[in-house]
């Protein structure tokens, strides 16, 4: 097998056009990396206060803004409250300027003012401080998702769906969340760790903005706007706290036009209005690190052509007879070709994607969604592996079809085309997700860096960089296609006359 691998590698390196093709793949990766960097470096001139989003205790970028009715809690203590009501109100859309412009077209229908956003939140929170991003534990009623216990932004536990009574109990370094339908029988939802020492404890209300996103063949539309949530609290009791109830707007947006939110005391409770959210940042719409690797589809196309030609030129010239005369074991020849093409394209892909990441980052200058080093390694190695396996797939398709043009068309149709149609938002979201589950293009999931959060409402569609399968799961789809194509190719080689 060693001699056979040397033979196939000699074949590859001795055709200059193929070696040049590898260089072209690298250049294309870099070209698209620079293009992606240049595209995102052009920002509007308006104020965009705040800069980078705050980061949670584990470094995840987060949204941390809410109305907080609080008292200091020096040590252990318990808070109990009943959330009587949680509603949402649309803010009026911005007025058109007074420059005689024609009136804006009628607003599309929105949910009624009484309906809270699905992830509007009203409940109890203990938080290490009022600095955005500081650790916390909270139990809350939500618009559509029942009672939840959440802590430190990324952790989310479901509680009883129809409970209205909430309780947070702090004991040493632990916070325990409870919920109850009647205030008598309590269900424990979960626990969270919170450092000892003085923390702030109290009520909070927050609601993410309203978002509707439609994607159809050839276009998209999105509507949305800020919403104010109103939480009505009653039967509030607190033990262990000191001082008076104070209202603070955490993570207040300093820009103009901030909605008027606050809290008013009502009987044994409060009515609190709030905007914002306490959750991981969505990241779908912002710049993402994998945009530096967007040239992957172009490199894949070039390397797939190489993979196809590595086989089909032998058929075209009759050289395949010389090959099978030298090595009668045809499956071994196919295996050797696959190994050689896979190894060469993996190396090329590794160089190309590592360089594209570095150059793309240097050109961009802006801050993409922050990505752990392990994830950066995964997208670089994953992209190289994607290119390598796709090239092996091309070898198998070339062997099956024996014609260069047909095989190249088939590979492009199955890999790069579904990817482009899906991520460029040409296909509607649902077909796009199915395409990225079923076709070899699913493997582009290895490039996804922004995580999906069940507790954050946003458009988790390919157009925003979200793949329907996990990174290595998507890669496995490509591997399955490749294994099947290789098996078919091996059977055909055995049956056919050379």
């Amino acid at each position: 097998m060693k001699g056979l691998l040397r033979a196939e590698f000699t074949k590859f390196r001795s055709v200059r056009g193929w070696v040049v093709g590898c260089g072209v793949a690298v250049v294309l990766m870099l070209f698209f990396a620079v293009l992606a960097g240049a595209g995102t470096s052009d920002r509007g001139g308006g104020p965009r206060g705040g800069g980078a989003p705050p980061k949670g205790p584990d470094g995840t970028p987060v949204v941390d803004g809410f109305t907080f009715v609080r008292q200091p809690l020096p040590a252990d203590g318990t808070l109990t409250v009943r959330v009587a009501d949680l509603t949402g109100t649309d803010l009026p859309p911005p007025r058109p300027g007074d420059d005689g412009a024609p009136p804006a077209p009628a607003e599309p229908e929105r949910p009624g003012p009484a309906e809270a956003e699905p992830w509007a939140k009203a409940g109890l929170i203990v938080k290490a401080g009022t600095t955005p991003g500081s650790p916390y534990a909270a139990v809350m009623v939500t618009g559509d998702h029942g009672v939840r216990m959440q802590h430190d932004f990324v952790h989310d536990l479901a509680g009883p769906a129809d409970a209205r009574w909430l309780r947070l109990e702090r004991k040493g370094g632990t916070v325990i969340g409870y919920a109850s339908a009647d205030g008598a029988a309590w269900t424990r939802i979960g626990t969270a760790a919170l450092a000892t020492g003085e923390v702030e404890a109290g009520l909070f209300v927050a609601t993410p903005p309203h978002e509707e996103y439609d994607q159809f063949l050839g276009g998209t539309s999105s509507i949305g706007g800020k919403v104010i949530a109103t939480g009505t609290f009653e039967h509030l009791t607190a033990t262990g706290t000191t001082g008076d109830w104070e209202t603070e707007i955490v993570g207040a947006d300093p820009s103009a036009g901030r909605p008027d939110v606050g809290a008013t005391r009502t009987g044994d409770g409060f009515t609190v209005t709030g905007t914002g959210d306490i959750a991981p940042a969505g990241g779908g719409a912002g710049p993402k690190l994998e945009q530096t690797l967007v040239g992957g589809f172009a490199a894949l196309t070039v390397l797939a052509v190489l993979g196809v030609l590595f086989v089909t030129t032998e058929y075209r010239r009759g050289l395949v007879r010389t090959t099978f005369t030298a090595t009668p074991g045809r499956a071994r020849v196919l295996a050797a070709k696959a190994v050689v093409i896979g190894a060469v394209t993996f190396g090329v892909g590794l160089v190309a994607s590592a360089a594209a990441l570095l150059i793309g980052e240097a050109v961009r200058g802006g801050d993409p969604y922050p990505v752990a080093v392990s994830t950066q390694v995964r997208i670089v190695v994953g992209t190289a592996a994607l290119l390598a396996v796709a090239a092996v797939f091309a070898v198998a398709i070339g062997t099956i079809l024996r014609r260069g043009a047909g095989a190249v068309a088939a590979v492009v149709l199955l890999t790069t085309l579904p990817y482009i149609l899906s991520v460029a938002a040409v296909l509607p979201a649902v077909p796009a997700q199915w395409v990225l589950r079923l076709t070899p293009a699913a493997a582009f999931a290895v490039q996804q860096t922004v995580p999906e959060w069940p507790q954050v409402h946003q458009a988790y569609t390919p157009a925003f960089g979200f793949f329907p399968l996990p990174p290595w799961g998507g890669f496995a789809v490509l591997c399955a296609w490749t294994a099947a194509a290789l098996a078919i190719a091996a059977v055909l080689l055995r049956r056919r006359d050379a």
Partner: protein, 307 residues
């Protein structure tokens, strides 16, 4: 390993076309065996079957008693040239040989050796796409020699060669056979194999029509035939015809006499006082012998059909 090719009762059809119809012959070492027949007779198909490239419906083809596909490094057992144009035009001739060498566990020194043997040492590093057909034939022969195999099989190696190339190829094939190798050379032009082939396998319509040694064939075709040069053509023809010979005019002053040995022709002409300037036993060319043979084969086939 014994240097032989044994083909026995190969049968293969493509749809309704019969390509091989009981092809059977053996190639033995030490001589060049010519594999001759019109285009489409099944020569190339037989060679592909021997090399394990094409499947057959029935029959076996063995190299030194073993099926080709069972050979671990087949180029060390059989060297083959099927199609001199089977090259990647962008790859140099040397690299074309190098990958084949690697596949057999051979190295670059052997490649340079066969390039020298075939007179391609100076052009080995040039793109094969720029080679003339003659150079491609030499490169194909170089590839067949890579593994120094005891059996060689060349399909139409004379195609595209100039007269000098044809002479080189003939000498090369004779030398290889003289080293004790079994050499099978196909051709559709018998004249190319003049003075080269020691044995002849003639095929038509997928089976062997004749399997004979070239010496026997030429002797049979030349038997009892005399070439006569005379200025008295008419008198000579009359005198010889009276004694039962068949006489054919081949030139203005040359006759071919069938049915009388040379000494009797001399006696007859002397008795009739017919002058002649030269008399010689005729030696048939390989091509003439081949034509005679195939004519018989055609007749044989015709009677077979009639019967």
């Amino acid at each position: 390993m014994e240097a032989t090719i044994e083909v026995s009762d190969l049968r293969k059809t493509y749809g309704s076309t019969v390509a091989l119809d009981g092809m059977t012959f053996t190639v033995t070492p030490g001589r060049v065996t010519a594999f001759v027949g019109p285009n489409g007779a099944g020569k190339s198909t037989t060679m592909r079957v021997v090399l394990g490239l094409d499947r057959v419906d029935a029959g076996t083809a063995l190299i030194g008693g073993r099926p080709y596909r069972s050979l671990r490094t087949p180029l060390r057992h059989v060297g083959a040239l099927l199609d001199a144009s089977a090259l990647h035009p962008a790859r140099s001739g040397r690299d074309h040989l190098l990958w084949q060498a690697h596949s057999q566990g051979l190295g670059a020194p052997r490649v340079d050796e066969v390039l020298r043997l075939t007179g391609l040492a100076d052009v080995g590093r040039r793109r094969a796409g720029g080679y003339s057909l003659g150079m491609r034939q030499r490169l194909g022969v170089a590839g067949a020699l890579l593994g120094d195999p005891p059996v060689l099989m060349l399909d139409e190696p004379f195609n595209g060669l100039d007269p000098e190339g044809i002479r080189w190829m003939r000498g090369f094939l004779r030398a290889l056979a003289a080293e004790g190798r079994a050499v099978l050379v196909s051709s559709h032009l018998m004249s190319e194999l003049q003075d080269t082939a020691g044995h002849l396998v003639v095929v038509g319509r997928g089976k062997v029509v004749a399997d004979t040694s070239v010496a026997d064939l030429i002797a049979a075709a030349s038997a009892d035939r005399v070439t006569l040069r005379t200025i008295a053509r008419t008198e000579a023809m009359t005198a010889l015809a009276e004694r039962g010979a068949t006489v054919a005019v081949t030139d203005r002053d040359t006759l071919t006499v069938d049915g009388l040995p040379a000494d009797q022709v001399v006696t007859v002409l002397s008795q009739a006082s017919v002058p002649f300037s030269e008399i010689s036993a005729h030696r048939a060319t390989l091509e003439e012998a081949y034509m005679e043979l195939t004519r018989d084969a055609v007749e044989f086939r015709a009677t077979e059909v009639a019967g």
